[in-house]
Amino acid sequence: MEVRVQNIRKEFGRFPALNDVSLDIRSGELIALLGPSGSGKTTLLRLIAGLESPTEGTVYFGNEDASRKTVQQRNIGFVFQHYALFRHMTVLDNVSFGLTIRPADRRPSKADIRKRALELLDLVQLSGLEKRYPAQLSGGQRQRVALARAMAVEPNVLLLDEPFGALDAQVRKELRRWLREIHDRTGHTTVFVTHDQDEALELADRVVVMSKGQIEQIGTPDEIYDTPNSPFVFGFIGQSNILAVRVENGQLWLEDRSIGVSAPGEADGPAQLYFRPHDIELLDGCGGCIAGIVTVTRRVAGTRHVELDIGAANSTVEIELPPEKVTSDRSRIAFRPTRWKLFRD
């Protein structure tokens, strides 16, 4: 189901957690809310769920105003970071819970509930564990039970709050891929909160980057990574270098040297140049380049990270090179950013 959040404001006491946030979530989409802690992403998720009520603004499920509905009436599925399983119930009972508590006229028969729960356990690859108690499962297994439990009620929208936050790296990666598969098979509209950019970029159809109670940018993972629209997004997603430059006649100047990058149409004056460590080309001579002396090199998986001291007011710059490119300390490297963005204060 399509979910629309319109001009939501939420204050806790006098502290504004969300400030005029609007977001359209398309039906069947897998969307990530990404941001540092305190950015309001979990609050937004809980507002959609109905676990919090907005100070101002409206949440629509389809064309229906859901703001006045209670959590129970919204029919959503919610997965918590720490699983929140019912530990006195077996796995099967946990998954069936949402169906067994329905009023008699909407409740499926016992056999149907059991069948549905077993199907879901099969979907989350936990067949055979239905008689276990949550305490007897690993973290990854518990979170899969939690997901099956949330899906059992055929929710309008599936909301996941840092679903893999409590798991170790290996399991996280596995579950990430697996969640994508489940989503593609079931087609539930899904919103998940994460502070892990890899998770958001790898998993989501669209990513919503949030900071300080506001949405910074909404876009596909490619758009978010390749064309960040604010210094915050540039700095928060991936690695980036920031240099204080000057625009003069459509050319970028670093202190007294042109760096060989033209910025047509940009007004003259100081600006911040943002570029990613791998969006560069190495140059032999320096007719217009950024040049620096190697201070540190690190091998990180398939690339070599090189820190350069480019002198004077600007601190260090980090660039990524292919690992076969061996550089020795104190050697001089010249390069030029190939993809970059200017921001002004």
Partner: protein, 285 residues
């Protein structure tokens, strides 16, 4: 060498604090000294009675009534304490209000107060001419000097046991569990009855067992409010004292032995159920 080390460690968990042997030794000697020797004295004295004499003494109508009253009132009082103790613990865990600390401290008073003082206070209140008793008498309810009075006294002494065992477990309950129930469509009643209370069951059971055990053995507060009518409101511990004062040691021993067996059996059953549910639900370990 390695094999020998392995066999040495067979019964012990490697630990940063060694001393399994010493600790177990102290525990056992202490248990023997404090509990086992006095109790085996009891067993020995009653076995000296011979089976027929013992059976006669134990099945004496007055003894049976006294036992029934003791266990019955203790059971009822423990049930009442479970209901109100859980509510009280809930209020203390979940809400903040002025005077909370004072109420929290008040819960422990029955632990500290001499039980006789409690008994006399309750009797004064609930006697037909007391503050509360005089209000109840027109309604035809008699509390003091009836088994009902015994229940009241036992509720008083047993309350902290339930509150103090349930409270820490309640504090552990994650708010998210309730929210999870709500997102799945559970209303408040369903969340409490299907999610919260079953999760608390092991702790509630422990509290029940403690309050019950305390009630069975309680003497001081009860004898003032009970009226101590033989066959009607006479508790087993009092009957033991009466028999002792009559120098009727065999009868006193027999009653005590019966109480011991019943109490031990009940506590063993409750503890087993409790350990089983604890293990299953993954509380503690």
């Amino acid at each position: 060498m390695t094999e020998r080390t392995a066999s040495l460690w067979q019964f012990r968990q490697p630990s940063v604090i060694p001393g399994f042997g010493l600790a177990l030794g102290v525990t056992l000697s202490w248990l023997i000294l404090i509990i086992l020797i006095p109790l085996s004295g009891l067993a020995w004295r009653s076995s000296a009675l011979g089976w027929t004499t013992f059976w006669e003494l134990a099945t004496d109508q007055r003894t049976i009534n006294a036992l029934r009253i003791s266990f019955g009132t203790a059971f009822l009082a423990a049930l009442v304490n479970v209901v109100f103790g859980v509510i009280l613990a809930w209020v203390l865990v979940r809400y903040r209000f002025p005077g909370k600390r004072i109420i929290d401290a008040m819960v422990d008073l029955p632990f500290a107060l001499p039980t006789a003082v409690a008994g006399i206070a309750l009797t004064t209140l609930y006697a037909p001419n007391g503050w509360i008793g005089s209000l109840l008498t027109p309604l035809g309810i008699k509390v003091a000097f009836t088994p009902l009075g015994i229940v009241f006294a036992l509720v008083f002494v047993g309350l902290p046991f339930v509150v103090r065992t349930v409270q820490p477990i309640m504090e552990e309950i994650d708010k998210e569990v309730e929210e999870a129930a709500a997102t799945l469509g559970a209303n408040r009643f369903q969340t409490i009855s299907r999610v919260l209370l079953p999760g608390l069951a092991p702790a509630v059971l422990t509290g029940f067992a403690l309050a019950f055990a305390r009630g069975v053995g309680e003497y001081g507060s009860v004898i003032f409010i009970a009226g101590n009518l033989p066959y009607v409101s006479e508790i087993a511990p009092l009957l033991i004292v009466i028999r002792l004062e009559e120098f009727n040691y065999p009868a006193a021993t027999a009653i005590a032995a019966v109480m011991l067996v019943i109490s031990f059996a009940m506590l063993l059953i409750i503890n087993t159920i409790q350990a089983w549910s604890r293990r299953r639900y993954g509380y503690g370990a």
